[in-house]
């Protein structure tokens, strides 16, 4: 199950962060997302060790933490997507698919003429779309 998705701007500022847990561990998830930026930095700075091709946006598993696995995705405009899941056995293809859909939703959200680039995304329809994508992630994996 995906417990958290986040969009982090190119100044490493949070643009969108939504957790999907019943428990009140939002703070912990904030920390996890923030720390995962270090791994993204490292992957981006050592391109030879990261993805198979230069244009690969999917960064893969960033790090496993106590109960979670953190996956990352980097767009061409250096906006980072981070996904935290509790599933221990995740298929790469599922995660890639998730990020692809998430990216599309993000692009639609920031294409809104009323959105100022770099600012937080407060669009409700984006949030709804994200929660649909998040929910469907479990069903395709099953």
């Amino acid at each position: 199950m995906i417990v958290c998705v986040a969009v982090v701007g190119n100044q490493n500022n949070p643009v969108y962060l939504q957790s999907f847990t019943e428990a009140d561990d939002a703070l912990k998830l904030h920390h996890i997302v923030h720390c995962s930026l270090d791994v993204i930095d490292e992957r981006v700075n050592n391109p030879k060790r990261s993805g198979p091709t230069l244009n690969e946006t999917f960064l893969g598993l960033l790090y496993p933490t106590e109960n979670y696995k953190v996956y990352g995705y980097l767009t061409n405009t250096k906006v980072k997507f981070i996904m935290v899941t509790t599933d221990l056995d995740v298929k790469d293809a599922d995660v890639r698919n998730f990020f692809r859909r998430f990216h599309a939703a993000y692009v639609d959200a920031v294409s809104n003429p009323f959105h100022v680039p770099g600012k937080k995304i407060t669009s409700k329809s984006f949030a709804e779309r994200v929660s649909v994508i998040v929910k469907s992630f479990g069903s395709t994996a099953a």
């Binding site: 701007g9 100044q11 490493n12 500022n13 949070p14 643009v15 962060l17 428990a23 009140d24 561990d25 939002a26 703070l27 912990k28 904030h30 920390h31 923030h34 720390c35 930026l37 270090d38 791994v39 930095d41 490292e42 992957r43 030879k48 060790r49 990261s50 993805g51 198979p52 960064l59 893969g60 598993l61 960033l62 790090y63 496993p64 933490t65 106590e66 996956y71 990352g72 221990l88 790469d92 959105h115 100022v116 770099g118 600012k119 937080k120 995304i121 407060t122």
Partner: protein, 1176 residues
């Protein structure tokens, strides 16, 4: 890892035992230890000690007991230190060959040793120690000894002691035999047990695990790492299977034992993998280990034991990873993808340290929970005394003493829990956790993972906070908050700030408490999700979750605090609140980098860029607050760098009298306005402001007084250079501007330039038209005070070339003063003359710059001086004069006012001097240089030697002013000597009062006769001096000025021929007259002359038209014609041309020279008979 026993941490080393000959023990054991692989030595000095090697006697008839545990705690130690693979008996050769008693002793010793080793596979070796080679034993004795010992021939060796080379050989022999036998021993032991494992001849899983462990250890003794690894893994797997099956022990202790064994097996496996360089395998193995045991928490009461154990797994693995030299394989790439599921951090010890710390925290929480809930239960059970580690690994037992009998009794689970709790309570987990986080923090920092390091740092700080070490906690949280502020992570920043707030509360720092609280209340947290879940309260900071309602609550608390009112929450704080009140009123300073800018941001803009002094301008003060609730400001003080401009704004809704207590200074201007700051809404206040002081007027800060005791001093910012609010700039909200005027909010400045006051002093520069080169030109400067008194006045004079060039000649070799224009002096007014001496002290005059001080002038007084400027070259000059003064004599308010004037003055040449030479009338010397150099036009003037010529010097007034000449003269250079060379006399043009006045454009001509007396190609004629004065009405005291011009050098040469013509000046119609041409040959050569005369209709003439003649040296030839004029008036004589053949030169007389006036009749004036020839 340090907690592990030595034998577990280090790889096993074979053990050999030597008995007898203690003097050799050190040599042998040292040598064996240095061997590769090393062999440890158990050295027994004599045979009485061999009982140490004896096995424990076990009743052979007793039925096999079910295994009471998995590993015996000391089994490994026993094999490392007490059970040798080889036992060597050392006998001196003389003892063997000695008397029968000695031989008997040897035999007995051997027997004893054999019996001790009975039942073990320990190999026996007999060593005969000889002092030298020659002491060799006889063959018979050797055989006898071998038989006694029941050993092979090769196990009996000779050791030579005294010869060094032999000693070395003997040692080598011994070592190779030992190592071979050790290998055999451990192989056989291993095989023996392996058979049991393979044939599954064990009765329980415990034995299976034990056997696997033993096989693996024996393999390690043999350095067979692969087999060791395989059997450790087998054992580990078997152990995992028995988790749910065994019932041997009470459930809690059972789990403890299994985990202890698993830990040991895992440790061995990890070590082997890492030392074999298989990092990836080791990490994968570790993950398996962790995942399979993570859920085995056991009952709640002992959860802390599980987390303690679990944390230790991470710690040990981190240490192993740190100490092992194995690096990340270079081939490894694509971290975190399906090709390589591992991620970078899993190769970092820091990652494991951090997790170890996390689980240790987990342990503490479960322990704390347990201690708080199960106090009673524990007291009932009581803590059992003298609990010791039992025989088997991971088990505990109670030592029971009654009289002399000591018994080891098993523990019940309840007893065990009490014991474990008592033990756990003794440990200070907090410092352990901090140490782990610090390790992780340092390591992450080194690796360039600042956020992870930051996270560790915040965890560390939390532990310090929990341990009530507030100053350390505060320091760490501050560093953490810095990063979060920078990247705008409001939620995590909230957490740190919440702790910081509490730390400062605990440390009694009210200012920081208020600062942090206000920052929290102003953070961009706009959600208000759900009720507070108390369960995960420990994850939150003391300020609770980041919600908008908490922001409101915090702000209310702080504002209540500063009004000294008590909120329920503050009252709960109790005594700490008292600490806060003692350093009130509080003053918070907010500068450009302060995180508190979100609390109050002050933007100040003047509506103009410059303003006249004392004239009003508008200033807009805009305030912005992001606090959750509206803020009511009681009093706002706007402070400037000129304190007189400061003003205060009082809230119009408040009663002024209540605010009066802060109005200590009654002079300050007071305004009223509605001072209510709404969240995220600019409060704009525009006021008129006047400044009397010129210079920069800058708004420095805005001080807001809120409630009774809070004062926020906010550094003013210009809207033009204002940066976005650090946390709020990413928020999606409507952008608003500090000033309504959009242009001003982009370009407004908090600084305005106040101009200087209008000078009320006149500075007048006069000039009398253009200046003339050479004269001392006087520019009168007058200062007239109209409204200001002049104090400390100073006049600065500066001369600048109007075309921007230098006033100085760059060439140093300039014959006279190198300055083209210079300021000669400044003279005061006549009445100031007597104080000239002290004025001179202050005066500084350079060539183009001068400073002069001005005396004190009262209103209406005036002062003047004259500037004397001298031009050396005609140049246009800008004269700048500036007067700086202060209108009052008070030195403290030394405000200077400057008046500037400038004047352009043309420098002109007064007279242009030109000159020209004229030969004598009708007398032409032949000058060869004139003939030769026709092409060179600028040839020097040539004059004939010893012939008089006329020099006409013309002085033309080139100015616009009339000049009066006083003299014109030519002065020869070199004074008297030159008199011999050339004589110059004035012959005309004398200056009289009538012709002295030279109006502009008028010429004055002076006539001079020049007679060179030396034949010289370059003769200096001297310099023309023209003295003049300006023709002014009042100019009595003017000095005459000499303008001089050097005449160019002339070329003097001897003329070979001189032609002169004689003719009467006038003739009378019809009356004949004579006309002669004289040619004088001054050479010593015969000169041929050709001459011709043209016809003229006005004259009838007699004489040849064309003819030639020869002139003898130094003689004169005369050509004469007789002419009769035929018409009257000025008439041209017939044209005569004289040519010298030798010099190819021809002479035609000029028209003027060949003109004669013909009277119609005899004129009546009596001036007849004058000769037409002009003799000079």
């Amino acid at each position: 890892m340090e907690d592990y026993p030595e034998e577990l941490r280090t790889p096993p080393v074979s053990l050999a035992c030597i008995v007898g000959c203690p003097e050799l023990h050190q040599t042998i054991s040292g040598f064996l230890h240095a061997e590769q692989p090393p062999i440890n030595t158990l050295a027994l000095p004599d045979f009485s000690k061999i009982s140490l090697l004896a096995r424990k006697q076990r009743d052979p008839l007793a039925p096999p007991q079910p295994a009471a545990g998995i590993f015996k705690r000391d089994w490994l130690l026993k094999h490392r230190t007490r059970v040798p693979a080889v036992a060597a008996a050392l006998f001196r050769s003389d003892h063997v060959t000695g008397d029968p008693a000695q031989w008997l002793q040897v035999c007995t010793d051997l027997e004893n040793l054999k019996s001790v080793l009975h039942g073990r596979n320990t190999r026996l070796v007999v060593v005969i120690v000889q002092t030298q080679v020659s002491d060799a034993l006889s063959e018979d004795l050797m055989i006898a000894l071998r038989k006694r010992a029941e050993i092979d021939a090769k196990h009996l060796i000779v050791f030579v002691q005294n010869d060094s080379s032999e000693l070395r050989q003997s040692l080598n022999r011994l070592a190779s035999l030992f190592s071979e036998l050790c290998m055999t021993y451990y192989r056989e032991e291993g095989r023996r047990i392996r058979i049991r494992v393979e044939k599954k001849t064990f009765t329980s899983t415990e034995l299976n695990i034990r056997y696997c462990f033993k096989v693996a250890v024996y393999a390690e003794f043999r350095k067979d790492w692969a087999e060791a690894l395989r059997y450790y893994e087998d054992g580990y797997r078997a152990l995992r299977e028995m988790t749910g099956t065994t019932t041997r022990l009470p459930p809690i202790q059972r789990l403890v034992e299994i985990k202890a064994v698993a830990e040991q097996l895992h440790f061995k496996i990890s070590t082997l993998l890492l030392h074999g360089g298989k990092v990836v395998e080791a990490i994968t193995w570790f993950h398996k280990h962790v995942t399979s045991y993570k859920q085995l928490v056991g009952v709640v009461e002992v959860a802390f034991l599980h987390w303690d154990w679990f944390s230790r797994q991470f710690l040990v693995f981190a240490e192993l990873l740190e100490t092992s030299s194995a690096a990340i394989p270079a081939t490894l790439s694509h971290f975190g993808t399906s090709d390589n599921p591992l991620t970078e951090w899993e190769f970092q010890p820091a990652y494991y340290y951090q997790l170890a710390a996390n689980y240790l925290r987990e342990k503490r929480y479960s322990l704390d929970n347990l201690l708080s809930t199960s106090d009673l239960a524990r007291k009932v059970a009581g803590v059992p005394e003298s609990v010791i580690p039992a025989l088997y690994l991971g088990q505990s037992a109670r030592l029971f003493e009654e009289g002399d009998t000591v018994a080891v009794l098993p523990l019940s689970d309840a007893e065990y829990i009490s014991y474990a709790l008592a033990e756990a309570e003794r440990y200070q987990d907090a410092y352990e956790i901090i140490a782990l986080f610090r390790k992780a923090y340092e390591s992450f920092n080194r690796r360039g993972a600042p956020r992870m390091a930051c996270f560790c740092s915040s965890r560390m700080a939390k532990e310090y906070y929990a341990a009530e070490d507030y100053s350390n906690a505060k320091q760490l949280f501050e560093s953490v908050a810095g990063l979060y502020r920078q990247e705008g992570w409001a939620t995590v920043l909230w957490e740190s700030l919440g702790y910081l707030r509490e730390c400062s509360r605990k440390l009694g720092s009210a200012k920081e408490f208020v600062g942090y609280s206000l920052e929290m209340a102003a953070l961009p947290i706009l959600t208000d999700e759900g009720p507070e879940a108390t369960e995960s309260r420990r994850d939150y900071c003391p300020a609770g979750p980041a919600t908008i309602s908490r922001r409101v609550a915090i702000q209310e608390e702080v504002f209540a605090l500063v009004t000294n009112a008590q909120t329920p929450e503050a009252e709960a704080g109790g005594e700490s609140n008292l600490l806060l009140t003692k350093d009130l009123p509080l003053c918070l300073n907010i500068d450009l980098t302060s995180p508190l800018r979100i609390v109050l941001l002050a933007s100040v803009a003047f509506h103009d860029q410059t303003v006249k002094p004392n004239s009003p301008t508008l200033i807009t003060v805009s305030l912005l607050s992001q606090l959750a609730l509206p803020v009511e400001i009681d009093l706002l003080e706007v402070q400037f760098n000129q304190p007189t401009c400061n003003f205060r704004i009082v809230d119009s809704q408040k009663d002024i009298s209540t605010a009066a207590f802060i109005l200590d200074d009654q002079d300050v201007r007071l305004e009223t306005a509605l001072l209510k700051l709404l969240p995220n809404k600019w409060l704009r206040l525009t006021y008129e402001i006047k400044s009397g002081q010129s210079g920069k007027l800058e708004c420095s800060s805005i001080v807001a007084k809120i409630r009774k005791n809070l004062m926020i001093s906010c550094q003013a910012e210009s809207p033009a250079t204002m940066e976005d609010l650090p946390m709020w700039k990413f928020e999606d909200r409507v952008e608003s501007f500090p000033i309504k005027d959009r242009g001003l909010s982009f370009s407004g400045q908090k600084v305005i330039q106040v101009e200087e006051p209008e000078p009320q002093v006149d500075l007048i520069l006069n000039s009398l038209g253009p200046a003339l080169v050479g004269e001392t030109f006087i520019v009168p400067v007058s200062i007239h005070s109209k409204g200001h008194e002049v104090h400390f006045g100073e006049l600065k004079i500066n001369l600048v070339d109007a075309r921007g060039g230098l006033l100085m000649s760059p060439r140093e070799a300039e014959p006279f003063d190198s300055h083209h224009v210079e300021l000669v002096s400044i003279s005061g007014t006549p009445e100031e003359e007597e104080s000239q001496a002290d004025i001179d002290n202050i005066r500084k005059i350079q060539h183009s710059f001068g400073v002069v001080s001005v005396p004190v002038l009262r209103e209406g007084q005036s002062w003047s001086c004259n500037l004397e400027i001298k031009w050396h070259r005609p140049k246009s000059v800008m004269l700048y004069v500036s007067l700086g003064y202060s209108p009052s004599s008070d030195e403290a308010t030394l405000q200077r006012i400057n008046v500037h004037r400038s004047l352009q003055i043309e420098g002109k040449i007064p007279v242009i001097i030109s000159h020209r030479f004229m030969a004598p009338f009708r007398r032409e010397p032949l000058l060869l240089s004139k003939i030769k150099s026709l092409t060179i036009s600028d040839q020097k003037e040539s004059l004939a030697w010893n012939e008089s010529s006329t020099l006409i010097v013309t002085a033309r007034n080139s100015t616009e002013v009339p000049l009066r000449l006083t003299s014109m003269s030519i002065k020869l250079e070199g004074e008297s000597d030159d008199k011999n060379f050339c004589s110059v006399h004035q012959i005309g043009g004398g200056i009289s009062p009538e012709n002295a006045l030279l109006v502009p454009g008028e010429d004055f001509k002076g006539l001079f006769s020049v007679k060179p007396e030396i034949d010289c190609p370059k003769l200096g004629l001297g310099t023309v001096y023209v003295s003049w004065v300006r023709d002014s009405k009042r100019g009595e005291n003017q000095h005459t000025i000499a303008t001089r011009q050097r005449l160019p050098d002339i070329n003097v040469e001897k003329p070979p021929l001189v032609v002169s013509m004689e003719c009467p000046p006038h003739a009378i119609l019809g009356i004949p007259f004579s006309f002669y041409v004289k040619i004088r040959n001054s050479t010593s050569l015969l000169q041929e002359i050709k001459y011709s005369l043209g016809d003229s209709q006005n004259f009838v003439l007699s004489g040849p038209h064309n003819h030639a003649a020869f002139v003898l040296p130094k003689t004169e030839h005369l050509i004469s014609y007789k002419l009769v004029p035929l018409s009257s008036g000025p008439q041209q004589l017939p044209r005569i041309t004289v040519a010298s053949v030798r010099y190819s030169a021809a002479l035609t007389l000029s028209v003027a020279a060949a003109t004669v006036f013909v009277y119609p009749t005899e004129p009546k004036f009596g001036l007849e008979g004058s000769k037409s020839e002009v003799v000079v």
